[in-house]
Amino acid sequence: MKSIFQNVVKSASEVILDKDEETLLALTCILSEGHLLIEDVPGVGKTTLVQALAKLLDFKFSRIQFTNDLLPSDIIGNSIYDPEKKEFNFFEGPLFSHLVLADELNRANPRTQSALLQAMEEFEVSQDKHTYALPKPFILIATQNPKQQVGTFSLPESQLDRFLMAFELNYANKDSELKIFQGSDARLALKNLKTLVSKTEIVMHQDNARKVFVSPLIAEYIYELLNFTRKNQSYPPLSTRSGLSLSKAAKSYAYIQDRDHVIPEDVQKVFVAVMGHRLGLSEGVKIGKKLAEEILNGTKVPV
């Protein structure tokens, strides 16, 4: 693994225990300029993870707590009339950050949810007749309560597809939990975290990750994985865009592993995270994860 990313994972693990793999996936997501959906019950460290990442990567961080009465302008920003200059001034909303934590996204009403769409896809927002570019890098990390919880609006399929990855955080293992109960306040540890990578470096890494080589064999492997769901009625068919996402994520993963080419293991490592929410759809990531593992176990790695 590239030492710089190793350091990031290691530092993050001081704040949030037993979540190295998830941290790595989140990093992969960031390098792929993709958005991340974390699905889990409250209180497993979703916010802490995101905050730690923001701190380590020197990202401007903002957090939006979604409720069912939140309006689009609450996240995008407002144009307010300035009587002295006799013109409208745009006041940027919380979306204008590098790392936006959209907490409990599925509590918001569909109208607000869809306001996020343009931001996620085009990295810009429109207010009145103006278009405002979002800062670069821009990564949205949304958390979502499992479907069973009351008062939630499940995300529409089109919106799910905008997220590059989705995973569950799950409870930490026993040892880590014991340590958490004994240990000092995570918020305090968060404050002590030092920035390890600069924003510009991240943008450079993103550019480099895009150049990682995908061989014909890997492309074939990705095709076979998608094709498995297309010829098998019991799986929702995966789209070409999802395949593109998979390839992007695998490239970033390979880059983090300090390789200039993708190997089948890279694809396998990110597959569940990339496809889980696309396969689970309204059933939730948990079901999708199971399906994704079935697909992996049913597809030959071409040699």
């Binding site: 080589f213 089948p264 293991e265 790695v301």
Partner: protein, 655 residues
Amino acid sequence: MSRLLFKDYLGLAICIFTSTLLLFPDVPIWCFSLGILFWLWRLFCHVFDFTIPSRKITGFLSFLALAVILMDFRTLMGKEPAASFIIILSGLKALEFSDDTEKDFLVLLGFFLISSKFLFSYDLMYLILSLPIYAILTMNLFPHEWLKGSRSAALKYLGKVILLAIPMAATMFIMLPRITKTLLEIPSNSRYGSSGFSDTVSPGSISRLSQNNEVVMRVELFHNRFNLSELYFSGLALEKANQMNWTALRNEDGFTLSEAPSEVDYHVVLEPHYKNQAFSLKGTDSMGAEGLRIYRDSNYNFKFDTYLEKKAFIQASLGGARPKVSEAIINRNLPEPELSTLTSEQQTQLHDLVKKITDSSRTPEQVSKAILNYFGSNRFTYTLNPGEQPQLNLYDFLFKYKTGYCEHYAAAMAQLFRLSKIPARVIVGYHGGEFNPLGNFWTIRQKDAHAWVEFINSQNRWVPVDPVTVVAPQRIELGFNMYNSIVNELLTEEEIKNKLNGTDTFSRLSMWFDSVNYRWSTFLLEYDFDKQKDILRRFNLSLGNALILVLVLLFTVSVLINLFQRRGIKKNFSELCFEEINKWATKFDLQKKETEGPVTWLQRIANALPERSKPFLPDLEKAFSLWINLAYKPTLTPADSKKSLNEIRKIMKRG
């Protein structure tokens, strides 16, 4: 769970299924149904996405089948039990078929299935059926990549394989010694042919055969030219009489083993039949057949020592005069018919007739003429459909109905002889047949079945006489087929003429096929160890040299296949590298899992490698990195790829 139902090997599946169907007549019905059941089971699993039964279950089933076959046949040797077992085995293999490794075994089974049918059948028909099956099976032995691509390419390829298969098959046939007998003489469950005569002939029992088209034998005559009217093949002599019903004596004495003829006058290729009669032409003095014993009685009637289970190739010679008949036989054939069932009036009428016949003649020959005259001048008619009349008595036939088939006339005439104190008997066999001008042989069918009379003449010798020559001369001159066509107006005169000349296309075609088939079966039946040596001698080869030649041939073929194979997958160096490593890993049973990536695989090997092989690990890692670079890095030049491949080969050789 794999759902692969011969997806890429559809041809293979069809081949083995067809071969199974072809073997149907040779195996017990339960075996066959079981084989088919396994196929259906597999199909069921495939369609409804059920789990394929595990190897434990199929293994257990195969043992069970073996046990049942053993119980049924009491042995595992020989053709039938082997065929039964192969059928069940291939069904089971089809059932558990899930990947490439099982393919080769299935192909092997397919070869066995189709060969056992083809080589034991002596029928060219099966050659035509077998060739494409052989070809497709062989094709399945080749690397899978060859078969990918367009359908026309596959067809072209199939053609090439067939072209290669023919000389191969010919070589195998010439080189491999053949066994003319079944391996062990086991009572077989298979069906026999349906020709041959039962011991009793009653009115109507032969005419029943007149609709039966089944071939009894094919006969090729060499030195003597026979007219159709002279072709009498006698099978069985019936000497015990009860008015119109004649029965063979259960007297087994006087039979001696017939020696193979020194000079062959005619060949008979006899189809299997359920009796042991060997049909011989009038005047035959010896008959011999490879692997069969033929017996002869003092009157030159021939029979086998056993039922004829498969085609027999018989050589026979014609001899001179018949020996004189012994006193015992004369006495045996003298008893006058029991007439007590007739009224006295009818008996008087019958005796008057006999008196009229004997009054005008002194010698048996003259009596014979007188009887024929009586049939000829008293409005006796010949009918093809007399119906079954086992109760018909002599009086009713001679004075009331005056119509019948050959057995009526033969039975009545022999009785008239006996009433005239002349020993006589009824002979059943075949008369006439169909001449095939292309193959120069006669085809004799069940409908050519015939009965006639033999009486003892003044020189104490048996003499044949056929009453039908008087009643229906055309039946004897033209043969049954033509006579039937004329009487029933099935054909016009012109068509009959064409048929006789063999000029209409269909009959020419069928004659042609029949003659080729005849040549094939005689060649196959004649081909024994001596013939094999003959052929080798003709090519100036000793048996040892020939064996070496076969080995060289096999070697060349395998080299050629290898070369082809290389060329077939040349483009993919990565796959070749993988195969090198995988071959090595087989030693430790650590082959790559299909869903596993290379690094995971290496990790697994590193963990599971036995302690003594651990020093090899760095080398192995190098081989893996070479392979991974080749497969997943930007494409190397062919030269570099080759270098990597060679390096991996070197490393793996060390390991």
